[in-house]
């Protein structure tokens, strides 16, 4: 009897589960349509890949969190869609002593989302020693002082073009009221067009229109950021209409989405360029000729058109994108020339004497390791690395690809036990070419030691005069082409896709930055 009872209970449970799932099946239609017809109100849903890991200035905001920050927080100095420098929270600025002291005149009548007025004290607060950035990129700041309610003076340890440094969304101006008396963070309070509304961890962040915004008020009433880590899911969520806009569209989906009805794809060259960084501190890449031979062997046009499906622009060794400040349009770049690569190698003593396809010198074959990180760039760097491996094999260089996580790469970098690293970014924000610092001997990521390069970088970064700056950055670009501390591969494109009822979007070159000014949803 007891046994039968158990059996009956079991069957009943099964039935319950089945009928429950049948019920779900019935409801599904309604909700899916609901997602499609949400267009009536001005509420935008954006698919991003990571949650906001941090809201406060004591830590670096990681990943896509910065696209959310760019709605809430603002900086003293801004960039327009083409990376030209324009006033932000500061209306104007000047340097009385060629870059060592900077005085910013602040916009009046602006207030933070919690009602606190924006004034000089807020700027002092945001760039105080509490702020992580004063221990990192803005380490040269010696003091920040309020001259009056709306004037702030920055004193630096050495001259530098501070306004460019202040454009990055990762170190914006925050309200002193973001923290309580003990210094514990309460909630985000910026001056931006949208204010923080709510967040469900790892799922969504909601921001709503700042009715008091000092600039052009947004059309959108509410923006919901949905966290969708997988790129393919993000694309499908756009196609089903569950989200209205996605950022970071994977290369392989771009042409398909472009040809699809009802979807608009926006593309623009961004500030990032992928590069092959050589370990110039040991053989074989301590020899400039070997580095140059790689530059001749790798066809960046083929990588852009074939591997990246035409997304991006072949860099051919040019250290930074044409959208960057002082990018020399007439720079002499590399073109693929395997013959020249082989000649350079053989002149440097590397010859294929045993005919097995790999060149040797003093009996040692030219075998090198190429490190690729498992980080955010992996999905693009992995296929790129394989293409590079193939091209270098053609001129007799044997490449072993090591696909490792960040910590393992740092360890190999510190021990010097590698030959090439495939990278993107590093000291890249806005249009200012701070990136050259990556090959400076003081940089923790440098594997190149050259005193004249260091001098050029120092001089360029300590100059406030635009003409002189331009001259110095032009010579740095020539230097990188000739000396090849790294070979630059592809200028990246930023890709944003929207459903076509989303109107008025202007894509900006700045990355990470999401410009929602003028965006509205068209009602049907």
């Amino acid at each position: 009897m007891n046994q039968k009872l158990k059996l009956i209970t079991l069957i009943l449970m099964l039935l319950a589960v089945i009928s429950a799932s049948a019920c779900i099946g019935g409801e599904e239609d309604g909700t899916a349509k609901g997602a499609d017809s949400e267009v009536s109100s001005q509420e935008l849903t954006v698919g991003i890949s990571t949650d906001v890991n941090n809201w406060y200035l004591d830590k670096f905001p990681d990943g896509d969190g910065r696209f959310v920050w760019s709605q809430i927080y603002e900086t003293l100095v801004r960039l327009d869609p083409d990376l030209n420098i324009i006033p932000g929270l500061a209306e104007s600025w000047e340097t009385p002593d060629d870059g060592k002291t900077w005085i910013f005149h602040l916009r009046e009548g602006v207030s933070f989302h919690d009602g606190t007025p924006f004034d000089a004290d807020a700027v002092v607060f945001s760039y105080s020693t509490q702020s992580y950035v004063t221990q990192a990129v803005l380490r040269p700041i010696e003091s920040v002082e309020a001259l009056d309610n709306h004037t702030v003076k920055f004193v630096l340890a050495k001259p530098m073009p501070l306004p460019f440094y202040l454009t990055h969304v990762a170190w914006p101006v925050m309200s002193p009221s973001s923290v309580d008396a003990e210094g514990n963070f309460i909630s985000p309070a910026g001056t931006g067009p949208f204010k923080f509304e709510s967040r469900v961890k790892d799922q969504e962040i909601i921001v709503s229109r700042n009715e008091e915004y000092w600039g052009e008020k947004p059309e959108l009433e509410k923006v919901t950021f949905k966290v969708i880590p997988e790129a393919s899911t993000r694309v499908m969520a756009l196609e089903t209409g569950e989200v209205d806009m996605i950022i970071k569209v994977p290369e392989y989906d771009v042409s398909r989405l472009e040809s699809e009805d009802g979807i608009e794809v926006y593309r623009k060259l961004t500030t990032f360029t992928d590069f092959l960084q050589f370990n110039s501190e040991k053989a074989p890449f301590s020899d400039k000729a070997v580095r140059q031979s790689v530059a001749y062997a790798v066809d960046t046009e083929m990588i852009t058109s074939e591997v990246l499906e035409g997304v991006g622009e072949a860099a051919k060794g040019r250290a930074f994108s044409p959208v960057m400040m002082y990018s020399n349009p007439d720079l002499e770049t590399y073109s693929r020339d395997p013959e020249k690569a082989r000649t350079l190698l053989s002149e440097a003593g590397w010859k294929d004497s045993d005919g097995e396809g790999i060149v040797e010198k003093d009996g040692d074959p030219l075998c090198v390791t190429l490190l690729v990180s498992k980080g955010v760039w992996a999905s693009r760097h992995n296929p790129m690395a394989q293409a590079i491996q193939g091209e270098l094999a053609e001129v007799g260089i044997d490449v072993e690809i090591k696909f490792l996580e960040g910590g393992a790469i740092t360890q190999l970098e510190n021990s010097g036990d590698f030959d090439i690293i495939l990278r993107s970014g590093y000291f890249v924000w806005g249009s200012y070419p701070k990136h050259f610092f990556v090959h400076h001997s003081m940089s923790p990521y440098s594997h190149y030691r050259n005193a004249s390069y260091d001098e050029l970088v120092n001089a360029a970064d300590m100059t406030a005069d635009e003409e002189k700056q331009k001259e110095l950055y032009y010579s740095l670009q020539d230097f990188v082409i000739e000396e090849v501390p790294a070979f630059y591969l592809v200028h990246e494109e930023k890709i944003v896709a929207v459903n076509s009822y989303v109107k008025g979007y202007t894509i900006t070159s700045e990355d990470p930055w999401l410009n929602l000014e003028g965006v509205y949803l068209e009602n049907e």
């Binding site: 599904e28 992580y132 790892d202 799922q203 393919s232 190999l412």
Partner: protein, 313 residues
């Protein structure tokens, strides 16, 4: 029985101690300097050696590894799991936040797999080498071979994009549960089907089945009361292990469906070298795994009267 359970619970403590010790050592031995990784997460790219050293000191990473482990253990014994070194979030809160999502997905996919696998396995064992049997074998082979990330995307494409029946991602409603549970459930069902089939075939060959038939019992009673009940024992063991594995989080499915579970939390924290968070996750997963195994063992005794654990005392 109670005696047995108490003993097993004690054993679980030992197991958990061992697991956390191993995971701590593994984290320590992994390449890369944890202080540097943490400093990078906090300050971004422009790091100085002093900052790295400051982090090392502040987080106690300069102490010998066994001291670090003992410190952690002492805090945990006071039920203080600490804060994430990256986000400063409370670790216990972080884990408890994700536990419901993980449990929901684990139980749903297990149910789904059993609902598919047991009838399929029984049917194919009864009609051995028939078309139906071969179809079952083929399908389950397919189920084992299809990787979850591909099946998941395929299901989204079909149910969310083509049919517009289900949401493609997210967590919260029952509709959100269907596709991830289906992805995990079908691949598990594949193995369980084969297990049920072979176990049934074995049981059906036993003499007591012949005896039951000779007694003149009707085929349904023989099948359900005599054969299936015994054949399910290995299936149960397997299902219990599967449940433990599912409760540990399933990072691929969680990533594809934007499901806020334990698996992704654990993997992200490993990459971030967030020692305390990794240890917290591992501790919880080890507890869940051990408890689900214990539950299976107890169920065993309930289902099979021959197994009485107290006898072994």
């Amino acid at each position: 029985m109670w005696n047995y359970i108490a003993k097993r619970l004690l054993l679980i403590l030992v197991v958990i101690f061992g697991v956390t010790l191993v995971s701590f050592s593994a984290m320590y031995l992994a390449p890369g300097d944890p202080a540097e990784v943490i400093a990078f997460a906090r300050y971004g790219q422009d790091l100085s050696a002093e900052q790295i050293e400051a982090v090392r000191e502040a987080e106690g990473l300069d102490a010998p590894v066994y001291i670090q482990y003992l410190n952690w253990l002492e805090h945990v014994l006071h039920l203080d799991f600490g804060k994430s070194v990256i986000s400063s979030d409370d670790i216990l809160e972080e884990i408890l936040l994700r536990l419901p999502a993980t449990a929901e997905l684990a139980l749903a996919s297990l149910f789904l797999s059993l609902i598919i696998a047991i009838p399929a396995g029984v049917l194919s064992s009864l009609k051995q080498n028939s078309l139906l049997d071969n179809a079952c074998v083929f399908t389950s082979l397919l189920g084992v071979s299809i990787p979850n990330f591909w099946l998941g995307l395929l299901l989204i494409w079909f149910f969310a994009l083509t049919l517009r029946m289900l949401p493609s991602f997210g967590y919260g409603s029952l509709e959100n549960l269907v596709l991830p549970a289906l992805t995990l459930g079908t691949s598990m069902a594949a193995v369980t089907t084969r297990l049920t089939r072979s176990s049934m075939l074995e049981v059906l060959k036993q003499e007591y089945i012949v005896a039951a038939r000779a007694k003149g019992l009707d085929e349904r009673t023989i099948l359900i009361r005599h054969a299936l009940k015994n054949a399910l024992l290995p299936v149960l063991t397997f299902a219990g292990m599967q449940l433990g594995y599912l409760l540990g989080g399933t990072v691929i499915v969680e990533t594809i469906f934007a499901w806020p579970g334990l698996g992704k939390l654990l993997v992200d924290s490993i990459f971030a070298r967030d020692f305390a968070l990794v240890q917290g996750c591992v501790l919880f997963i080890a507890i869940l795994f051990s408890l689900s195994n214990l539950a299976v063992d107890i169920l065993y005794a309930v289902l099979d009267p021959r197994i009485r654990y107290d006898k072994h005392d």
